[in-house]
Every structure is written in C-alpha cells, then in structure tokens.
C-alpha cells in the first residue's frame, strides 16, 4: 500500500516537472515567436517597398538568402561581416544585463580599433607577443573610453545615457584628428601606416588559397566565439556573473543583499567597453590592416540592435549578430548582381527592430488601457504624459 502511494506521488511529480518544462519551453517559444513574427512583418513591408521600386520580392529574397548562406563563399562573407557585430552585440548585452546603459559601444569600438592599430604598426615584436599585445591595447582602449562616462556618473552623478552618446561624437573627432595629423602616413590620404605582419590576424585565404577564396574572412571569428563562451560562462557560473545579473534584475534588492553597486557598475561598463574595443581591433587586424579615417560606421549601433533582437541574452544576441551579418553579406551580393542598393537591408533590419519594439509597446499600451478603463485611453494618457511638462524637482 505505501509503495503505491509513493509511486503515484512520483508520477504526479514527474507530470508536474513535465508541465514545468513545457511552460519554460513555451516561454522560450513565445519569445522567439515574437522575433519571427517581427521578421515576417518586416519582410512583408520590405516586399511592398520592392514592388514600389519595381522588383520582384521573391527573386530579391532568394538572391539575398543565396548570397548570405547559399554557398561556401557566401558563408565566409557572412562570417566576416558577423565577426565585429558579435563583439558589439555581446558588449551591448553585457551592459543591458548588468543594468548599465551603454549607448557608447560605437565610440568604444573605434577607440579600441585605433589603439590596437597603433600598437600594431609602431612596434617590432615577434608575433606571439605582438598580436596579443595589439588585441590587449584594443580591449584597454575600449575600456578606457568607457571609463569616461563611468567617472562622470560616479563623481558628478551624470547619467551614462547622455555621456556615452557624447563620447561617441568625441571619439569620431578624436580619431579624425589622429588619422589626419599625428598618425598619418602619407599626405594623400588620412590613414595610418599599415600594421606589421606580426600583428595581423590571418585570413582563411592565407592559410589555404582554396578556402574562402575572394573573401576577407579571418580567424578573428574564433576570438569572437571565445568571447561569447567566456561571457556566457561568467554569467551562468561565476560569482561576478551572479552579481551582474542580480543588479540588472533588481538594483534595490542587490544593494540590500550587499552587492557593491559601484563596483558592478564600473565593472559592467568597462568590460562592455573593452569587448567593444576588442571588436574594433580585431576588425582592423583581420580585415583592414590599417586605420582609414571613417573606414566604416555603425558597428556599435548594429550591435545594440542585434542585442535587442536576441533578447539581450548572450547566446541570443550572438545568433542575432550572425543573422545580421548574413543579411549584410546578402545585401552586398545583391548590390553586385542586381544593383539594388544595400541600404535596403538597413531598412529591413530597421523594420524588424521596429516591429519587435512595436510588439513590446503594444502590450505595454494594452496593459495601460486594461488597467485604466476605456480602450485607447491608456494610449492617450501615455501620449499626454510624454508631453506634460515635468515638475520642477524632476528636472533638477
């Protein structure tokens, strides 16, 4: 008799466990469903745009896919485009998850790039030292750049949202000056000297001419993946990761529990900035080999978007960064083969983010509406509140 009851209770327990697992899966499913819905919606709107400019969307999407994932070469191009985005996406996610608002990933990326470039061309060292030192310089450059807003918040109490945006602009001007004056190699173009062979990250074609022919994909992808694995491990398995997660989830609780809020803020910001900077130097040492003023922009912002797209989780934002890289590779191929401007893809990605945000916004407004009575009222209240002048103490 007793054995029977324990058996049923075990059965009951396992069925409960099963339900629990199902619940968690369905949560995951719902989250990814949101992303998929947003992508579909963006694809539809994108199709309309293509129809307007007289293209067949099916053909365009097929070409896009082929150029992103359809061949070995396409995959390598995707890899090359995705590599810097993985860094900036992880950088953004670390900030988000630790409750830090780092809108300065863009600037940190470029400061890291220029710092690493300098070490890369200015020193003569064996590769075994030179490459790691250049990478380290990139990491430190990004972290140092992130330290400015950190200090301004710690000492002056200025929100990092504003200061990280500001430091993006300063970074652009600073680098323009550096590449135009002190670091300039020739009078002709604003670019630095080329980095030494010993500081270059090998490209796949260097290893085997048949592999990745005609692409600039490089071994930096392994550095990116190592960063992904390390940060994932830190968040899941270490005390530091626990502190970061808790502060991100509830600052008040963490403070009560004795977590050092200043340390967490500074740590989150510096590591986020450092990884952005590392992404910058990897991009230089792997692809460009020298810093040309304004060689590219938007890595930081794209990383922010990929992080949002991936639900701010480490794995999710990595997948999103690869997806984003694929879209870019596809768009490049599209431009070559059909002349469709690759900015179209920026529009599509923008639309995906828009639709994802719209879902969040929609459920937020719905809640407001549900809480407060008549439909639509919540939205009105929300809009009104946005335009209501703040009280004095708040603006202080």
């Amino acid at each position: 008799m007793p054995s029977k009851t324990t058996k049923t209770s075990v059965l009951l327990k396992s069925s409960q466990m099963f339900k629990l697992i199902l619940m968690q899966l369905s949560g995951l499913f719902r989250k990814s469903l949101n992303v998929i819905m947003a992508i579909l919606a963006a694809a539809v709107v994108g199709s309309i745009l293509m129809l307007i400019v007289g293209r067949n969307p099916f053909v365009v999407y097929r070409l896009l896919f082929q150029n992103a994932f359809g061949s070995e070469r396409a995959l390598f191009i995707t890899m090359q485009r995705a590599t810097p985005l993985i860094f900036t996406a992880i950088s953004s996610s670390i900030a988000f998850r630790t409750g830090v608002f780092n809108v300065g990933v863009e600037g940190q990326f470029f400061i890291g790039a220029i710092a690493g470039t300098f070490v890369g061309y200015a020193f003569q060292l064996p590769m075994i030292l030179h490459l790691p030192l250049s990478l380290l310089a990139g990491f430190l450059g990004g972290a140092a750049w992130a330290y400015i807003p950190t200090l301004m918040r710690q000492k002056l109490g200025i929100s990092e949202i504003i200061t990280t945006i500001m430091t993006n602009y300063i970074a652009t001007f600073l680098i323009s000056w550096l590449t135009n004056y002190p670091m300039r190699e020739t009078p002709l173009v604003a670019e630095t000297p080329i980095v030494q062979n010993t500081a270059r990250i090998p490209q796949f074609v260097n290893l085997n001419p048949n592999l990745a022919k005609g692409t600039q994909a490089h071994l930096g992808i392994f550095i990116a993946l190592a960063v992904v694995i390390i940060t994932w491990y830190i968040f899941k398995y270490t005390k530091l990761g626990y502190q970061w997660r808790m502060v991100g989830l509830s600052a008040l609780f963490s403070e009560f529990g004795g977590i050092n809020m200043d340390k967490t803020f500074i740590g989150g910001m510096l590591v986020s900035g450092g990884i952005a900077g590392l992404g910058g130097v990897v991009e230089i040492l792997g692809v460009w080999r020298r810093y040309k003023d304004l060689f590219a922009t938007g890595f930081g912002f794209k990383g922010n978007l990929a992080s949002l797209l991936g639900g701010q989780s480490i794995i999710g934002s990595t997948i999103a960064a690869i997806f984003y890289g694929g879209l870019e590779a596809g768009a490049l191929g599209l431009e070559w083969s059909t002349g469709i401007p690759r900015q179209l893809i920026d529009i599509v990605v923008g639309l995906i983010i828009f639709f994802m945000a719209a879902q969040g916004m929609w459920s937020f407004l719905n809640k407001l509406k549900l809480k407060n009575g008549k439909p639509g009222e919540g939205m009105m209240a929300f809009v009104k509140r946005m335009f209501t002048p703040k009280r004095k103490e708040e603006t202080l």
Binding site: L249, N260, L370, A381
Partner: protein, 521 residues
C-alpha cells in the same frame, strides 16, 4: 434569492499547481464577505478570476444572476467591479494625485489639467475620509500611506463591488479602524465588499459572512456571528492552531548590538531617526513598537547599512560597524528581513535559487573561488523550500509567481538560515496566515534561543507584545520609553506611541508638529 456574485465550479491551474479547484463562492448584495485561507490557498487567484485578469479553466460566473464571461478587467470594470491588489501597482515616481487619476486624467486643451487632478483627488479623499497629500511622491511614503492611495484609486472608479485583497496587511491598527469606517460607509450606500485578510480579529469585526479556502478548495462559508477564530483557524489549516505562542523565558547573554545617539535622514533629508540609543543582548528580543512612519524604516536601514548615519555609533560585540558597507556588516553577522519584501527583499524577476543565495553566494559550499556550484545552489534552495514550507512547484520559477505569504517565507528562510549574530526583522508576519505566523514566530524564538540578538520591528502591537522580551517605543525618531515585555499593557504602549509619556507631557516640539502636519494634509 439571487446573489450579487456567484462563482460556480471555478477551476484555475498554473503549471504545477491547481490554484482553484472547483470552488463555489457566492456573495450577497450589500454584505461584507471575508475570504480567508492559508498563503497560497488561492484567494488572490479566485479574485483575479472574478476581476477578469485570469480566465478560469472551468466554471461560470454570474453577476446579479446574469452569466458573464470576462475576457479582461475592462469587462469586469464595466460590471462595476473594482479591485485593490495585494502588491502595490503604483508608479513610485508619480505623485499621489497622478497615481489615483492615472488613465482618467481630467484634461484641458489636450493637456493634463494638473489643478483639476489635484482637486479631484482632494475631493474623493475628503469624501471617503482617507487623508493623503496629493503632491507627495509615492516613493517617499511609508507603505501604510501607499496602501491608502491604492484604495482611493479603486474608489475613484466608483464600483458597486469592491474587492480588497489584504488591504490591512500593511496598515496600522488605527489606519485599519479608519478603513473599517470607510468600508462600513461604503456598504451603507449599497456597495458589496469582498475582504481578504489573515486576521481573525478583522473577520470578526467587519464581515457579515466568511468563506474559507484551503489548498485551492472551498472548505466552507459561515455567518460570522455563528463562528469564532478557533474554528476558522481549524478550517483553514486543517488542524488545531496556537493563536498565541507560548514562549520560554529569555536567557540574555553578552550585549551584541549597541546603538548610540544614532541620527539618520529619510529620503527627503529630514531627520527620521533623531537620537536613538538602544542595545540588544544575545538571546533576547527587543521589540520596537510605534506607529508606522516614526523612523522605523530608517532605523533598520541605518543599522543594516543602506543609509549612512549622520551622527552616532553602531556597534556589534563592541566593534563599531558604523562605517562598514552592507556586505561587511552582513559578513559580520547581521541579517535582516526588510519591511518591503517586494522591493528590497527579493528580486521578483530572478529565480528562487538566485534569490535564496544573495546572503551566501560568496561562501563555500555555494561557491569556490570565483565559481558557483549550481548543484549546491539547487540543493540549498530545495532545503530551504522544504524547511520553511514554501509552496512552489520548483526552485527554478521566478519569485513573482509566488503568493505574497510564500514570498515572505523566502526572505525569512534566507536571512534566518544565515545564522546571524543580530537578526533584524521588520514586519515579519505581514500578510501571513495564522499557521505561518505561528511558524515564523517559532523560528524567531528559535533564533533567539540559539543565541541571536533579535531586533523586531512591527506595527502589530499584539506581535510585539507576544514576542518581545523588552519593548522600546519609537515616536518621531526618538525612543520615548522602554518597558519589559511581560509587563506592558496595550494602553500604556498606545499612549507612548502617541507621544504621551509618564511625565504627562506631549513630546511634540514645534518642529515635529510641522512635520506631522505636512504628512497629514
């Protein structure tokens, strides 16, 4: 006779839990119907079903005899149902007036009419006799006043049926009496009230009928005049419950906590703790009695290190901790159950496992070096869950899925399990059912008998009186008197709490009168 509300055969299941299991619940028009049951019995769930926030898996709802189906709370609001939730849903950075009228702001030329907002709020606050300052910000107020705002917010939508989910959990006895007046006057105008509470005193005082739930099932509905607390407790818990705990004599040893001339500011930079000196010995419970908002929160936060002491000294076993960080103080042997468990006590979006290790995540065996031991964390959580009888399907769920009482047990479990030298407990049984209160009180006494110094802060006079070995009364940031636990009478304490001491003089100086007034407008 048709009922105002009839819920028939209601079933609501969450993954791993049947929160409502075939419940029948009927309320007559114009009555005050108390709904009682243990933590996690399914009271809030049943009310959320009635309010349209949850869709039942089975069962029907009739309002005034007419069958209804609520898809959301718009539908139920349209039927005249209003609800005050157990956990606060106010916006901390908004003022009282903005919170109450949120979504229903009177407007002028498309902009919110600030003056009208204030006026409306003053009007209804007068009409229902609930005093609030329309311009205060929620985050600066004691929890008691915040709850008052919640009630006003529900009344603002003028309902015929008002659901109050544990409205008195955070109120002082005086505020509770005021609320009862309000409820009675509402009922006199024909409004029907459903009243969830854990306090039998309140059931007996205010309700006409009472329904008991246990484990998601309907146990019985009684006319209040035909029942008594003992019977209700038995129905709720399924066994005899000690309504007042028997406590052994304290055996105080060395002095653990010494506070000398402590001064602490509140959020508005007013002196909330003015000049407090007190001491607690190992093996002793010092109760702090006082009307809420007299510096209790700041005193606790000052000792644990969330607020800096402007003046004075705090010592543990003779060593000054005044300059230490929260972590250092915790490591030095202080634990604390904070009064606002939803904000400070837990991270609602984190798992129970994560919530349960904030105290010891940096100590073996939970972590070694930098690395966490996930297996030990899971074991730690399961052990506390079973030791403290926390009702949850798994230790992996996030804290916000737990019922209010069970959430409190999570905090208690974590803080008591740390085996502190000094255990601070602020409002430890707020929102707990009788069985759990008995359990928590026993745990606090156990901690004392193990040799911990216990500082108990509670707005429940009964609780302070039954647990404390000594009682200090806090009034306007000062200790106005200390009495022995066994010898205090309710009248004596009540007088001290009002600031009237033996010397027969009113302690209020002109400054404090000013403050009092600004709090009351």
């Amino acid at each position: 006779m048709t009922y105002e509300i009839e819920m028939i055969g209601i079933r609501k299941e969450f993954p791993g839990v049947v929160a409502n299991d075939n419940i029948d619940f009927a309320v007559r028009k114009g009555e005050i119907h108390a709904l009682v049951g243990e933590n996690g019995a399914g009271k809030s769930t049943l009310m959320n079903v009635l309010f349209g926030l949850y869709q039942p898996d089975a069962g029907t709802i009739k309002i005034r005899g007419e069958e209804v189906k609520f898809n959301n709370n718009l539908d139920s609001i349209a039927k005249g149902i209003g609800m005050v939730h157990q956990s606060f849903k106010l916006v901390p950075s908004f003022t009282v007036a903005e919170n109450i009228t949120l979504g229903h702001e009177p407007s002028k030329l498309g902009f919110v009419d600030k003056d009208a907002v204030r006026e409306n709020v003053i009007k209804i606050s007068k009409r229902f006799g609930l005093k609030v300052d329309p311009d205060s910000r929620i985050r600066d107020m004691p929890v008691g006043i915040q709850q008052r705002v919640e009630i006003l917010k529900a009344l603002y939508l003028l309902s015929d049926i008002l659901i109050l989910d544990e409205p008195t959990g955070v109120l002082t006895p005086q505020e509770t009496d005021e609320l009862f007046e309000v409820v009675r006057s509402l009922v006199a105008t024909g409004i029907t009230v459903i009243f969830i509470t854990h306090k039998f005193r309140e059931v007996m005082a205010i309700s006409d009928r009472v329904t008991v739930l246990r484990d998601g099932k309907w146990i019985g509905t009684k006319d209040t005049k035909d029942t008594n607390p003992k019977e209700l407790a038995r129905m709720m818990v399924g066994r005899e419950v000690l309504l007042r705990i028997d406590k052994t004599e304290a055996n105080p040893k060395e002095q653990v906590l010494t506070v000398e001339n402590l001064k602490v500011l509140d959020n508005r930079l007013q002196e909330a703790v003015r000049d407090v000196s007190l001491s607690v010995k190992a093996g002793e419970i010092l109760g702090i009695a006082g009307v809420e908002g007299n510096g209790q929160r700041e005193l606790v936060e000052g000792i644990i290190g969330l607020r800096t002491a402007v003046a004075g000294d705090i010592r543990i076993n003779g060593k000054s901790i005044t300059k230490m960080s929260v972590r250092q103080r915790r490591d030095y042997g202080i634990s604390c159950v904070p009064e606002d468990r939803y904000v400070r006590g837990v991270a609602l979006r984190a798992s129970l496992e994560d919530n349960l290790i904030i105290e010891n995540y940096d100590k073996a065996p939970i972590s070694k070096g930098q690395v966490l031991n996930l297996k030990k964390i899971a074991q730690h959580a399961s052990r506390l869950i079973s030791e403290f009888d926390i009702r949850t399907p798994s230790s992996k769920v996030i804290a916000s899925t737990l019922s209010g009482g069970n959430l409190q047990k999570v905090v208690l479990a974590r803080e008591i399990d740390a085996r502190p030298k000094l255990l601070i407990v602020a409002q430890p049984t707020r929102g707990l059912d009788v069985g759990s209160i008995e359990f928590v009180h026993r745990r606090i006494l156990e901690a004392r008998d193990r040799g911990a110094a216990v500082l108990l802060v509670s707005a429940e006079l009964e609780e302070v009186m039954s647990l404390s070995d000594r009682i200090a009364v806090l009034y306007e940031g000062n200790i106005v008197g200390t009495v022995k636990g066994g010898e205090a009478t309710e009248e004596e304490l009540g007088l001290m709490m009002a600031g009237i001491t033996d010397e027969g003089e009113d302690q209020r100086d002109s400054h404090s009168v000013e403050q009092q007034v600004s709090q009351e407008v």
